[in-house]
Structure formats: C-alpha cells, structure tokens
C-alpha cells in the first residue's frame, strides 16, 4: 500500500464502522458487537496511522496529496476533497488514533452499566467522531477541513448530550453547539473571502501571494487587508473551537458528557482541531502579524484566567476542563508568537497527558460515583494504579522535568520569550502570563491530586476499587507517552518540517528553569495548604475572582444575548403575524365589508334590474354620442 491508500484506510475505517452501525440497528443494539466493531475500527486506524508515522519518520514516503473534484461551477472545480499525507498530518493522525483507541477501550469498562442500546449509540458516535477528526487531519484544503470541523462539532454535541434525558446534559450539548457554531461563522466567511480572492481553498504560499496582491490592488481598496481578514476570521473560529476567552464558556459545561468523551474532546479531537487549523494553515496566519499578536494576547489571557478558574473548582472534571482551556491558551500564545513547533508539540504532549488525566479521573468517578473533590480523599490505598496514572498526568501537566509537558511548555515559553525580546513588547504580556500560569497549574494540579488521593479517607473511598482491565490498560498505555513524548522532540520537529537547529535531544533553556521554579513554588504552596487542612479557605478567598470572570461577565453576557435574541425574535414574530399578515387580513376583511355594503344594491326585484339595464343602455348610447361629438 502506498501512503495515500494507507491514510485512506486509516480515515475510512471508523467511517465504515459508523455507517454500518447507523444502518444496521440490530448490531447497534448489541452490547458486544457494537463496541467491539467500534474498537476494532479505531485499532485499524491506529495501526494505519502508526505505520504512516513510521514511514514519515524514516523518510520513506514523499509528501503526497490525492484529490477529487467535489463542487463545480461552470465546469471549473470549486472545491476538492482528498487526502494529504505529510509529516504534520501523520504525526497528528498517530496522536488522534492512539488517544481515541485508548478512550474507546476505556469506555468499554466505564460504560458497562449502561443499557445496551445507549452504549451502541455511544460507540457509533465515537466512530463517527474519530472519522471526522481524521478527515480533518488529512484535509488537503480548507473546505474539507471546515466540513470535518463542523462534523467534529456535531459529534461533540451528540456525545456531550449522551445522557440527553438529563436536562442539564441536553442544555450543555446545545450550548457547545451554539457557541462553536457562532464562532464557525468566522471560518465560513473567511473561506468565502479566501475563495473570492484566490479562487480556491488552499493555504499554501500561492494563496498568500494572491491575498497580498488583492490587498495592494488599487482598484478595490478594502477597509481591511484581505490577508488580515482571512486570518482574523479563521482565528475567531479557532477561539470557539479551542475554547479561548471569551468563547470558552461551552467547555466547562461540556463536562456533562461521560468522562471518556471529555478525554477525547479535550485531548485529541474537538479542541485540538482549532490549534491544528492554525498549524496547517500557518502560511495564511503568518502573513497577518496583527492577527498573530492578537492570538498571543488572547492565548496568554486564556491561560491565566482559565488557570485561576481551575483553582476554585470543586469538581474534579471541571478543574481538568479549565486546565484544558489554560493549556490551549499556551498553544495559541505560542503560535501567536510564531513558534509553530511549540504550539504543535504542546498540542501533542497535552493530548497524551490530558487524556490520561481524564481517564484516571473517570476511573475515580467510576469508583466513587461523584465528581466532587470534597467527597473523595484517601483514594491512594484502594486505587494505587489510578493514583499513579493521575500523578503522572499531573506531573506532566505541571511541567516536571523529564515529563513530556516540561519539554513542550519549555518550547512554548522559549518561543514567547524570543518573540517578545525580538523585540515585540506587546508579547511580554503573554509570556509573563504563561510563566506565572506554570505556577498556578502546578498549584491546582497538586491540590487536586493531594485532595483526591491523600488526606482523610471519605466514606465513599472505602468502597472504591479499580476498574476492570479495559480501564486499567489504557491508563497504563497512555502513561508511557505522557512521560516520554517529550523526549523525541528533535525527531518530531524533523518529521513535521519544523526543525530548528538548537533543538537537542532533550530540550532545556533558562526560561524553562524559571518556569520550573514557579512550578516548584506552586507545588510547595499546594502542599502547605493541604497540610493546613484543605484548600477551602483558598477557594473561598479566590471565588469572588471566579465569579467575576465566570458569572458576572461572560456567562451572563451570553445569557443576556440569548434572551435578547429571543425577545427580538418574538418581536419579529409579532410583527409578522399582526402587521404583515395584518395587512393581508385587513385587505380580506375590507373586501368582506365592501361586499356587505354593496349587497344592498341587490333588491331582488326584476323590475329594478331591468331599470338598471335600460339605464345602462341609455348611458352607453349617450356616451358613444359624446365620443363622436368630441372626435368630430
């Protein structure tokens, strides 16, 4: 098989499974077959993606793109679909399929108590989700990427709303859908704009040149440069998808879905799509420095604010959710600073350790049946493996040396520092924000870890126990890259074509050293707080800040906007019913009234009618005489 066939197999295997499960209802309702097929599909994908990645690493395959015509106009191709295989897509494919396979295997155990039919539905959507994300990764152009982007959003909606019987889950699902759809308007308009200027949906240097030429065309002087408009609009969509402030509101609510869904959503698929879009369409972004600076600032702000939010959460999944938003802020900031390698590599490592964190959190929740940190505690004894897994994930997230998160975060911070001292003074803010956030991250992760697994055992902890093999194995397997994914950074950079000469085997810079300092301080503070009897005081001290960020400003603003939109809609509806249609009805009623009045002319007496006829005749004759007089 050549690379494209292999990639096609990788992408299409989950689709075949999904379509089969959708169509074949009896199989879907089978509690063994449906999950089995779904896992099989993702394993096939995993193998395919692994082979592709290896071949890319060893340079066996040239970069390949195969495309077919999809939309036409006047015989000319408007849009194509296809598959592109290069280092970037191969690396991402491997990450996505690995995380997805682990999540699906974990789900086997996690959802074993669910009704068979619901489980079938769950695995169908999982397969569709995987296909959408893989299709996005191998997209050769922006239109296909957008199509898969929307499908990813749809599958998130379906999976977040898995427990649709719960009104809160239904609400969270639709919220995620609306917020990301709102942001996607940007990408849609950006695509249309891109097509208008370049006649295609490409992201290569050719498109950049055409955009630049369109910007310097004296005949059509746009009020904003086309390159900036395209990049800015696309970034708006990324903000929604990758949960950047202030479009992050859907992410915490998305915790209503089952925990493995959160793992998939937060690690390798939904939120990763946004960052991946920037990596893929990098030439378009690079051509718009204004957008890049905005990205860096938005990223830094999100990193900081989301970390603050994570501190005051009492729900283990919501802590992880906000930490995802925070880490996505890192990636966006790095990309904004021009460090594609930093952003992309952090995306990769983050996928592993965040999936690991969510799965181990899922294991905890499965054992104690609650999300509340205050009802956990002392879980180390009954759940040593889970505790270890969570510890590894937390260490990677906090950026302990030798852990994957350390290397990637180091790259991010280094990129930011370099760009800021380039000098782009405006980038000092994201740099400092990200640096400080390292400490916050370390603090809140340590706090959660200590709180859940150590300290006083809660009542629920006594009955807690590890899940089955299907839950333990994925955790163990995910722990490996969570630790080690940072080591082959040079190989990663070479494969994805982002190599910079100073990247050695193990990356370490002075900036990283300072970050490590922050990290240690964060850990120490967490330890102190834990030793002094819990973090309740801390939470209450910080919660006004959280209220400010979460409720007062953002959520309330959205609520208000939604209500206002409904009010306006009600106004339009009233206007249509009683004004526009009112005129129609008024005309109808007027006709009726006219008829009612004119019926009095009908006396019913034959004589009257004859008089009318004769009178009419006389009038006619008189009229014709008058005409002839006038004419003559």
């Amino acid at each position: 098989m050549n690379a494209v066939e292999l990639a096609a197999l990788t992408v299409l295997a989950p689709l075949v499974v999904a379509v089969f499960l959708i169509v074949a209802a009896p199989v879907r309702r089978n509690g063994v077959l449906a999950p089995g097929l779904s896992v099989l599909g993702s394993l096939v994908s995993l193998v395919g993606a692994g082979a592709l990645l290896l071949r890319q690493i060893f340079g066996l395959d040239p970069d390949l793109t195969v495309e077919r015509q999809w939309l036409v106009a006047g015989g000319e191709t408007v849009a194509r679909v296809g598959i592109t295989v290069d280092g970037t897509s191969a690396a991402m494919l491997a990450v996505v399929t690995f995380v997805a396979a682990m999540v699906q295997i974990f789900s086997l155990g996690y959802l074993s108590d669910e009704p068979e039919e619901d489980r079938g539905r769950y695995f169908t959507w999982q397969s569709l989700f995987l296909f959408s994300m893989l299709g996005l990764v191998v997209s050769p152009n922006l239109l296909q990427l957008f199509a898969c982007w929307e499908l990813v959003g749809l599958c998130s909606y379906l999976l977040i709303g898995y427990w649709w019987r719960k009104p809160s889950a239904a609400k969270a699902a639709v919220k995620a859908f609306w917020v990301t759809k709102f942001a996607d308007m940007g990408l849609l308009i950006g695509l249309v704009l891109l097509y208008y200027h370049t006649g295609a949906f490409e992201w290569g240097p050719g498109a950049v040149e055409q955009l630049a030429a369109a910007g310097s065309d004296p005949e059509k002087t746009p009020w904003v440069l086309p390159s900036v408009a395209v990049a800015g609009l696309m970034f708006f969509a990324v903000m929604g998808k990758s949960a950047q402030f202030p479009l992050h509101v859907w992410l915490p609510d998305a915790m209503e879905g089952p925990t493995p869904v959160s793992a998939l959503l937060h690690a390798a698929t939904m939120v990763a799509a946004g960052v991946y879009l920037i990596v893929r369409a990098w030439p378009l972004f690079e051509a718009a420095p204004v957008v890049l600076n905005t990205m860096a600032i938005v990223g830094g702000l999100t990193a900081l604010l989301a970390a603050c939010m994570a501190i005051i959460q009492t729900d283990i999944k919501r802590v992880l959710a906000y930490s995802t938003a925070s880490q996505l802020g890192y990636m966006i900031a790095a990309l904004g600073a021009g460090s594609v390698l930093g952003g992309f590599f952090h995306l990769t490592t983050h996928a592993f350790f965040k999936a690991l964190l969510f799965l181990s959190a899922g294991s905890v929740i499965h054992a104690v049946h609650t999300n509340e940190l205050s009802e956990m505690g002392g879980l180390w004894k009954p759940m040593k493996l889970t505790a270890l897994a969570f510890g590894v994930g937390a260490a990677a997230l906090a950026g302990l040396p030798l852990m994957s998160g350390f290397t990637s975060k180091d790259l991010v911070l280094e990129g930011l520092y370099k760009a800021a001292s380039a000098p782009q003074p405006v980038l000092w803010f994201p740099f400092l924000a990200c640096l400080f956030t390292v400490g916050l991250t370390s603090f809140y992760m340590s706090r959660v870890f200590l709180r859940a697994f150590f300290g006083k055992s809660s009542r629920r902890a006594y009955r807690a126990h590890e899940g089955g093999w299907s839950m333990r194995v994925p955790m163990m397997l995910l722990a490996v890259p969570a630790v080690a994914a940072g080591w082959p950074v040079a190989t990663f950079a070479q494969t994805t074509g982002l190599f910079e000469p100073h990247i050695g085997l193990l990356h370490f810079t002075p900036v990283g050293g300072i970050a490590l300092g922050f990290s240690v301080v964060g850990f120490a503070v967490a330890l102190m707080v834990h030793a002094s009897g819990g973090s309740g005081g801390m939470v209450s001290a910080l919660s006004p800040l959280g209220d400010l960020i979460r409720l007062s400003l953002v959520d309330r603003a959205y609520d208000l906007a939604y209500r206002q939109a409904l009010n306006i809609a009600a106004g339009v509806g009233w206007f249509d019913r009683y004004m526009v249609d009112g005129v129609v009805n008024a005309i109808g009623a007027l006709t009726l009234l006219l008829g009612r009045w004119s019926r009095h002319l009908q006396t019913g007496r034959v004589g009257d009618y004859v008089y009318a006829v004769v009178g009419g005749l006389v009038l006619l004759a008189a009229w014709s005489q008058m005409i002839s007089w006038v004419v003559l």
């Binding site: 019913g604 007496r605 034959v606 004589g607």
Partner: protein, 102 residues
Amino acid sequence: MIAGDLRVFLTVSAVMFCIGVYGILSRRNAIGVLLCLELMANAVNLNLVAFARFSTGTMGQVFTLFAIALTVAEVVVGMALVILLQRTHRDIRLDVAEEMRG
C-alpha cells in the same frame, strides 16, 4: 333608394324594441314581461334580416333562424319560471319574488 328602404325597417324595429322596453318596465305580470321580451327579441331579429337583405351574404338570415330557435327555448324556460312562481307564491306578479334581495 335602397338605403331609404332599410331605414323603414330599422324604424319599425326600433319602435318594436321601445314598446318592448316600455312593457318590461311597466308591466308587473310575469307573462306580460315575457311577451315584451319576445317583442324586443323580434325587433332584433327584424334588424338582422333587414341588414342581411340589404347587404351581400345570407349570414344574417342564418343567425335569425338560430335566434328564433333560441327564443323558443328561452320562452320555454321563462314559462317554466312563471309556473314555478305561481306554485311558490300563488301569484305571478314579479314584485312578489324578491328572495334575491341582498
């Protein structure tokens, strides 16, 4: 000369027509109205025949034949109506029937 002859026919026809109109307007008896109606129709027939006689072609005469046949049918319908009127209202004066008043 010919034109003069035509004028005679037309005058007679006009007089017949006016008598018919006067009759319809003044009579209350349905049969009387019907008779006047016939008078008007025959005035028109007379016109047609006269025009046909004083011009080329026989179209007018043909039409008159048709018209006479139609008038017969019309009288039948009219008489039927009169009988119906008599049955329902016990009277054939037209002003008793005003069911059609709006």
